[in-house]
Amino acid sequence: MAARGHDTPGLRSPMLTVRHLSRAGLVEPVDLTVAAGEAVAVLGPSGSGKSLLLRAIADLDPNEGAVSLDGDARETMPAPRWRQKVAYLPAEPGWWAETARAHFPDAEAVRPLAERLDLPEDVLDRTIATLSTGERQRLALIRLLLQEPPVLLLDEPTSGLDQTSAAKVEEIIRERLATGCAILFATHDKAQAGRLAERCLKMAAGQLSEAAL
């Protein structure tokens, strides 16, 4: 089965396993695994289907295939439970309330990460509309990380950020890897893939293939 797949080499057991995942927009079914503590990059130009793949794994769009976490099939748990564990961060995160604070159940917990990511001190008191794209992107990352999901699906996590902020986000991603998170991230930046990932997949026109780092 793994012949065509993009599997974790070696002895590490896979944390996230994707088998024959198909959906509208993907040309052929996808097989891949990500091990605990492993980062896998999905490279490809925008519009190639990277987001479609991540959204399908998070079960946000209709899709077919066998997806499991530590051997537990996705269908065995309610979808909200699955998404709390296999957490997806879109490239343009959404907001459902006017102020930043309303998106966080525990405002105090936000502070340490907000400081590390150079967010302004009053960031939670601001309205979402007054935050820049980069500030919103970092805040959404914090929102996701505070739920401590074992698997992260990050869609262009640094696309709206300058180099300094991007480096800080990468540092936090590396820390999560060290604690055993499995991370699958989409990027169009080959250098970033090289800095973070152990393995790299390439998405082109809805087709996923193995790529060199």
Binding site: D59, L60, P62, P78, P80, Q84, P93, W95
Partner: protein
């Protein structure tokens, strides 16, 4: 009760006023002459037909015919309710949900009114059932139509907000809550406004009718209050069922937002 019956010549004099409109339209080149004429002829034909139908219905007093007339009215109301929506659910879903919601609301409220409050003999007498249903349905239709319209347009506009909540592990009802609130509110505002303004800004048509027919104003007001309560009740039930059923259709059992279940946009959707 005594009332002044109208002769056809009385109507002809009143119809002259419409001819003045047509004349104005011609003189000012508004291009409305044709529309005014068509609307007037439609109104005359529809009401004349209604008169025939009502007379026939009143004379038979059959639960079957009363029920059938009610069903036809509800099916038409369903069609009207979805006709003005910019983005509908694909397939028959919009029509089905709108009609279903009105069927539930109108049936519950009309039956309740006929069996416990108005109590004609027999309770299904068309003379009472059909006008009551008509008034209830007309208002419920507006509410259901506005509620469904707001639901679909807001769900589209707030797509990223809804999906942000879903992606963080919220269930679909939590993620839809702001949208549901907006949809419910826009469906209920007309009836709230109308209750608040009744008697100050306008004298309701039914009450006017009863007074013209010779009823005591105090009695007419009691009837009007009853009707307003019934309308408010039916609109609430109708809007609630339609909006929640619509939201269920716009999401699925795996708690996904399913905007793909909306029909493709029409370029210039008719607006009211």
């Amino acid at each position: 009760m005594s009332y002044i019956a109208l002769e056809l010549t009385d109507l002809a004099w009143a119809a002259l006023l419409v001819l003045i409109h047509a004349g104005l339209s011609l003189a000012l080149q508004l291009g409305l002459g044709r529309q005014i004429l068509v609307a007037t002829v439609r109104m005359i034909a529809q009401l004349a037909l209604l008169g025939l139908v009502l007379e026939a219905l009143f004379s038979v007093t059959s639960p079957l015919w009363t029920g059938l007339a009610a069903l036809v009215m509800i099916l038409f109301a369903g069609r009207e309710a979805v006709a003005r929506q910019a983005r509908k659910l694909a397939g028959l879903w919009s029509y089905g949900i709108g009609t279903g919601a009105m069927l539930i609301a109108a049936t519950i409220v009309t039956t309740l009114a006929l069996t416990t409050q108005v109590q004609p003999d027999p309770w299904y007498a068309a003379r009472y059932a059909i006008p009551l249903l008509g008034m209830i349905l007309g208002n419920t239709m507006t509410g259901v139509s506005l509620g469904l319209h707001t639901l679909t347009t807001t769900a589209r506009r707030e797509r990223t907000a809804i999906e942000a909540q879903l992606a963080l592990g919220a269930d679909r009802w939590t993620a839809f809550r702001p949208v549901l609130r907006d949809a419910m509110r826009s469906g209920l505002i007309p009836i709230i406004n109308s209750m608040a303004a009744t008697g100050l800004v306008f004298i309701p048509g039914m009450m006017t009718g009863q007074i013209l027919a010779g009823a005591d104003p105090a009695d007419a007001i009691k009837y009007q209050l009853l009707i307003m309560f019934l309308i408010a009740g039916a609109t609430g039930i109708g809007v609630f069922s339609a909006v929640y059923a619509g939201a269920a259709r716009l999401s699925d059992a795996r708690h996904r937002l399913r905007l793909d279940r909306l029909a493709a946009a029409k370029e210039d959707a008719p607006k009211r």
